[in-house]
Structures are given as C-alpha cells and as structure tokens.
C-alpha cells in the first residue's frame, strides 16, 4: 500500500480537492465511470463530515494490490469531538447533514469495505475500500 494522496480538510475548497484526487486515482486504477462517481461521492461525504463536525482533518487515498486484486482505500481521520453513539450514526434515517440516504450508512453502501473507530473527545477514523471488479 502506498499513499498516493493526502488532503488536509479545513474548508469547502479542500472537499473539492479531495474529490478531485479521488477521481483521478480511481480513473488511473481503471474504475468505470459509475464507480468513479461513487468513490468521489463517498470521499465528498467523508470530507464534509470532517469539515462540519471536526473542523479539520485529513483524507488519505491509496491504492491496494492484494494478491492481484486492485482496490482504492480512503482513510478519513480527524481529532475532533468523536462520535458518542456509533451504532446510531450507522443507522438509516439518522442523518444530521440533511440529504436523503446520505451520511455514513450511505457511504458504507457505496463502498465494499467499511470500518469506523471513534472515541469521544479524541477523534474519528474511517477506513473504507472499493475493489476493482
């Protein structure tokens, strides 16, 4: 695994930057246009969460090559307030950012693998992967 890109997220411009990086890498790895759009949307959601709830954090995007399987991994991390009740934010219908179906459960469905780790007052780390089919 090699980190191909790391974007510090502080404002909305950084969200766009993270999206752009993600799309470029996805394209490079050979993802089709639908998956490119999905990966970009996932990055967008994760970066927006950082911007809205933690203030600042980072989005790392890397490519994976595991026994011939090609994948793209996104790591979104911040040192923000953390999530008190992870089960609740992973529930459908619980969304603070407005949009229908958006939020973390939406991101999880767009990607193939998803893990979240969060401690109150310490921060949150989300790792999610999409494999090339």
């Amino acid at each position: 695994m090699n980190i191909q890109s790391c974007v510090e997220v502080r404002n909305e411009w950084d969200i766009v930057k993270a999206r752009q990086e993600g799309r470029n890498i996805a394209k490079e790895l050979g993802f089709g246009s639908v998956d490119q759009a999905r990966i970009t949307t996932a990055i967008s959601e994760l970066a927006r969460n950082i911007y809205l709830y933690a203030g600042k954090g980072r989005i790392e995007i890397s490519n994976l090559d595991s026994s011939g399987k090609i994948g793209l991994r996104i790591i979104a991390s911040d040192d923000g307030p953390g999530i008190k009740d992870i089960r609740k934010v992973m529930e459908d219908g619980f969304t603070t950012s407005g949009g229908l179906g958006a939020g973390l459960p939406g991101v999880k469905r767009l990607m193939d693998e998803f893990s979240i780790d969060s401690k109150e007052n310490e921060g949150t780390e989300i790792i999610t992967t999409k494999w090339l089919r």
């Binding site: 246009s33 949307t41 459908d92 179906g101 939406g106 469905r109």
Partner: protein
C-alpha cells in the same frame, strides 16, 4: 457474458428501436424492461450509466458536450442512488419489524387467552379483535372447582404494542392473586396498586371484574372506570345499564371500588364490552349504545357466541371493515 453486458445489449436494442420508430409499443417494452431492472435492484446511477454506454456505442461520434453532460447527469444520479439504497434497507428493516410484531402478537394470544369456561348453568360468548396487530383489550375467564366463573374485561387507554405489554402485566398480576378472585372489589384494589406502581403515569387501564356464583346465580361485580355493560332482564324483556362507580386503575393510590351484585333468573344476560364497541363510527356518526342493544335484542334467539359474532360482523360492516379501536364483547346468559 456477465449480467451487465446482457442488460446493455437488451437496453441498446430497445433504445435503438425506439430511436428508429418512436412507437408506443417500444415505449411499452421499455417500461417492462425498467420493471425488470428494478427487480434486479439496478440503482438509478447504473440505469443512467447503461443509457450512456448504449448511446456511446450507437453514436461513437457523439459531440463531447453530450458526453460531458452525461458525466454530469451520472454525478447527479449518485444522490438518487443514495436515497434508493436507503429506501431498500429501510424496507427490509420494516419487514423484519413486522415479522417480529407478528410473533409478539401470537405470543400475546397464547399468553392472554385462556380456556372458555364450561358451566352447565351458563351460556357464554366472547369476541375480541385488535384494531392493529396487537390487542390492548383483554378478557379473561376463570372457572373454579365450585363452578364459579370469574370474568375480567379491561381496556388500556392507548393501542398497539405499549397497550399489549401493559395487558400482559395485568394478566400476570391477576394470576398471582388467586385469593382475591372471589372478591371483585379487592381484586381491583390490588390491580390498582400494581398499575399505580409499575405503569407510566400517562397510561390508564379501565377494568370490569365480576364473579358469577353458579350456586345462587348471583353476579358480583366492580368496575374501574370501565364502559358500563348491560343487564338483560328476560321476564320484563328489557336492557338496563350495569353501572359501577370506581376510578380508572393507576390514577389514585387509595381508590374505593364498590362492589355490586345482581341476581340472575333463567334467560337473564350480562353483556360486557370495551369502548371499541361503543366508539364504532359508521358513516352516520358514532354508534349509539341503543343501537348495540337493538342488535343484541334482534338476535336473542341465538346462542351467546352467535350473538357476539353477529354483532361484531354487523359493526364491522358498518365501519367498512376498518376497526378504529380494539373491540371486545362478552355475553353471559343463565341457561338453567
């Protein structure tokens, strides 16, 4: 060839046919194809992508602006895909919940509904139907070795699962106080204590509790704010109200439940009901208690069970088969 290629080939052929003939028939084919796509859980962005791929292969020289516009449309559809997938997941969760409620409702049935007493001197009929899946009404008969029959009918103010849970507690409390079974007022006093101590202050339970003594054909009863029942005097052929005075269960710490009694002659009847019976609404407004009396009166020749079934069916029909509240109707008639 994988699924996507098969879909693409099929979509492309319908699309190119439509571009040729613009006929309603081809549109109809498209509609059928879209139904199949939904069945296969193709998300909106995948559908758009299918269209884009078909167009690209039909028009390889498509202007760049069009290609760009498709990329833009695809991005727009991702949001719809989000909503679509959430809908799917919520739907499967709803199905799961419904199954759970179904199981709970069955459990409630086995838990609450005891056997009907078989006493030589009494003809008994009972019907109880929930408005939703779970019943907030409750009735219970107990027959002892002396052929005394106790009857309880209760209604939780409120419907559905909370009401049903509350009923289960009442049933348990009644079972654990067998010594009060012969004393309606003491039974209500005891249940009042249970409800007062254990139930949310916003939840109230009305109840009527009676005991029929087969030896002297006397009916002892007490009520806790419950819808009054009827007493039918066969000799005079008239219906009177089975009035009781007493507070709803769970309101006061020390309520006073008065006990009443009534002697039954052959053919006399006791009719107990929940407010789901009197609050039935037909197109002409609320159904009056008089109308229920009239329905019972015109079916007096039937057995008690047939009477309650007939009244239920008639009220169900008057309400266009839509129960608004749980419905319970009991009849006890002295046979010999």
């Amino acid at each position: 060839m994988d699924d996507r290629e098969i879909q693409l080939r099929r979509y492309k052929s319908i699309l190119s046919k439509y571009l040729d003939d613009q006929s309603e028939q081809t549109l109809y084919k498209g509609q059928q194809f879209s139904r199949k796509m939904i069945e296969q859980k193709i998300s909106p962005e995948e559908a758009v992508s299918l269209h884009v791929s078909a167009m690209e292969s039909l028009y390889p020289d498509m202007p760049q602006e069009f290609k760009n516009s498709y990329a833009f449309l695809l991005e727009m559809m991702i949001g719809y895909g989000f909503a679509y997938r959430e809908h799917q997941s919520l739907r499967s969760r709803q199905q799961q919940l419904e199954t759970e409620i179904e199981i709970a409702a069955n459990m409630q049935q086995t838990l609450l509904m005891g056997e009907m007493p078989t006493v030589e001197s009494l003809d008994i009929g009972a019907v109880s139907k929930p408005a939703k899946k779970m019943n907030g009404d409750y009735y219970h008969f107990v027959q002892d070795e002396n052929d005394c029959v106790s009857v309880a009918i209760a209604d939780v103010i409120g419907k559905g699962i909370p009401a049903a849970l509350c009923m289960s507690m009442i049933k348990y409390a009644m079972d654990s106080a067998p010594e009060q079974r012969m004393q309606p007022s003491a039974m209500l006093g005891n249940l009042n204590r249970v409800v007062e101590q254990n139930v949310d202050p916003n939840m109230f339970i009305t109840m009527f509790y009676g005991l029929y003594d087969s030896f002297n054909h006397r009916f002892y009863y007490s009520g806790a704010g419950h819808e009054p029942g009827f007493f039918y005097n066969a000799e005079n052929d008239d219906f009177g109200e089975l009035y009781t005075k007493g507070l709803v269960l769970g309101v006061s710490k020390k309520p006073n439940y008065r006990e009443y009694s009534k002697d039954l002659q052959k053919g006399d009847m006791i009719v107990l009901l929940s407010d789901g019976v009197t609050e039935c609404r037909s197109s002409k407004g609320f159904i009056e208690r008089d109308e229920i009396v009239a329905m019972i009166r015109s079916n007096l020749h039937l057995s008690a069970q047939e009477i309650v079934n007939t009244v239920y069916r008639e009220l169900e029909k008057m309400q266009e088969f839509e129960l608004r509240d749980d419905f319970t109707l009991l009849i006890l008639r002295r046979k010999v």
